[in-house]
Symmetry: C2
Subunit: 359 residues, 2 copies
């Protein structure tokens, strides 16, 4: 029996996508081999690769002056790749809104003069700090934000005004969950294991004029120029299977109506869950209402014993991986694109029942 998996990532994929991947696993479309066995330079694999990138461009309406790159190493590797590629003035400004934002900031300090413009750490990352254009240094190479905070459940709903300074954003846990105006960013990166694909793949969308200015010490595999242009993310062997499943997943997203339709469904799911929590005197969510994430919803019962009891009881109902991150405690329901509305309804129903039994 399939469960509803509320993991923060890796997490659910649409059943239809898994089924198609399974059907083809010994012989992809008459090639006589699995996608896991194909040369990345073969006539069988290349159409998969190119369709994946074309679907990203189509679904996110990526402007022509941006490259879509498929790389490895996760967002954590981009924490170094971003400064190594973009720090042309030696200065960059960071806003810290969570654990991963802080890691990105700390990694960047190895490579230049990095300003911590604002942080919500003293308030346990329960809100997004407000900034104005004047907070950023005029000669900063870029401003870095983590758009959605996976662990603490906050999100930028209005991007900071950085004027002409390129905005760099980690969209790992909100990519393709809602409409994104790519032209507002210098660079977007995202680990694939939440809304895109199985773990082991990272997507970078970067404005072309920002490519090619990397530091001498930048490893070849971390340079955007290595995978851009005619190399087409095939400089070395890519994670072909992850790219294949991502392609199937994007085909599915297109079929159901694309990112804007997905956004409607995601809004509905998040509204249901937050409304239920806000109308309860038992369950609480600590995040400022205007900054709440649509993807990651942390919540707590009145005490830790009840939290533990709830997590155990939920698992028996097929509602799994609800334990909060060790830095946050309590519970967290990650309701990414592939979580059906029914999964959220079932969670709310179990939360209501648990509340009745333990109030």
């Amino acid at each position: 029996m399939r469960v509803y998996n509320f993991s923060a990532g890796p997490t659910m994929l649409p059943l239809e996508v898994l089924q198609e991947a399974g059907t083809n696993i010994e012989d992809y479309n008459g090639s006589g081999m699995s996608v896991m066995e194909m040369s990345h330079r073969s006539k069988w694999y290349e159409p998969i690769h190119n369709e994946c990138i074309a679907l990203v461009r189509e679904l996110m309406e990526v402007p022509d002056n941006y490259e879509v790159l498929l790389v490895q190493g996760g967002a954590s590797q981009q924490f170094a790749a971003v400064p190594l590629n973009l720090l042309t003035t030696g200065k960059a400004d960071y806003i810290v809104t969570g654990n991963f934002a802080k890691k990105a900031y700390e990694e960047a300090t190895k490579y230049g003069d990095i300003k911590l413009v604002a942080t919500s750490e003293p308030e346990k990352y329960t809100y997004i700090p407000k900034t104005t254009r004047a907070d950023f240094r005029e000669d900063a190479s870029y401003v870095h934000i983590t758009e959605n905070n996976t662990i603490f459940g906050s999100k930028y709903h209005t991007l900071p005004d950085t004027g002409n300074i390129p905005l760099v954003a980690d969209l790992s846990s909100c990519i393709m969950s809602e409409y994104t105006d790519v032209s507002k960013y210098g660079l977007i990166y995202a680990g694939a294991q939440k809304n895109l694909a199985p773990a082991g793949l990272t997507m970078v969308i970067v404005r072309k004029d920002l490519i090619g200015h990397e530091m001498d010490i930048c490893p070849t595999m971390l340079k955007y120029s290595t995978q851009a242009g005619k190399n087409n993310s095939l400089y070395n062997t890519p994670p072909c299977w992850c790219i294949y499943v991502m392609m199937l997943n994007l085909r599915y997203l297109k079929k159901i109506g694309g990112v804007k339709e997905m956004e409607k469904i995601n809004k509905e799911k998040a509204a249901m869950l937050y409304d239920f929590i806000d109308n309860s005197s038992f369950w609480t969510n600590p995040v400022a209402v205007e900054d709440r994430s649509m993807m990651n919803v942390p919540f707590r019962s009145p005490n830790e014993e009840l939290d533990a009891l709830f997590i155990k009881g939920a698992e028996a109902e097929g509602l799994v991986t609800l334990k909060g991150h060790r830095l946050a405690g309590g519970m967290r329901a990650s309701i990414y694109n592939a979580m059906p509305v029914e999964g959220v309804k079932k969670l709310i129903s179990y939360m209501a029942q648990f509340e009745k039994e333990h109030k």
Copy 2:
């Protein structure tokens, strides 16, 4: 119909491994989810991860003073990671025996004083240069070799004598194809997409005393210390599906008798093919007999037109991806662990038929 795939990588996996992966693709062992959907910190995934690493240790008889790390980025990323982690004296010595060895050498020159001790490039990489202990600098941090040359089909059958200087070797295209005495190396790395797993995974086996001396500029994700010890290659999200398939593949290798049994089969396959080529006045292999690879066998007919005709004809027989690398031309049969003896026999049979028709 399944084909015999002679790709240099990604390449064949045992059918049994693909079948098991397919059977579990929607619901792994009653977890209610695919391995592609599992949190890497879940009770379902962790046993897979730990079994994979334990099987590497068992099958390769890895001594206790070595770490086995599962990372991302391919061998190409290790070309930078090796000097960034190991170049404690600022000096290292490289032997260049092929295209990837040259890339490793060039990348290292960005980070220190790198000596090109020997190269077979002027002879189109058709042999392994002989070296003695005196060729290496006493204060070199390490000596780097590419043990098997995937493109040109040569292999170190006797390791260079480096005295007390740690030997670092790229084993991407020969890992677990034959017995390896791990204690002779300071560090071994290998992209997984030839003998281990689907593309997107890289294995590093490193002597513990060499970990933790990285340069300040080393990106966190390229430090061996980031994934070593208690982090257990789970510092960030690993490529879980690739690790799962690698675990299945290693279980299979263990079942058929382990690396020593695999070595016997590989020797048989390679001997059959080389004997056939050497006994033919039509087919040729350019590599010095004592340096020939057991995994990658380049060969040519008398001219390029016949090469093209052969590749096309072979494909119609279900013998695919035989085209040589663009730098080498001609044909190349990569006969990794998962290529059955029958595949090599069928190739030889078609080569004999083609020779008869076109001599």
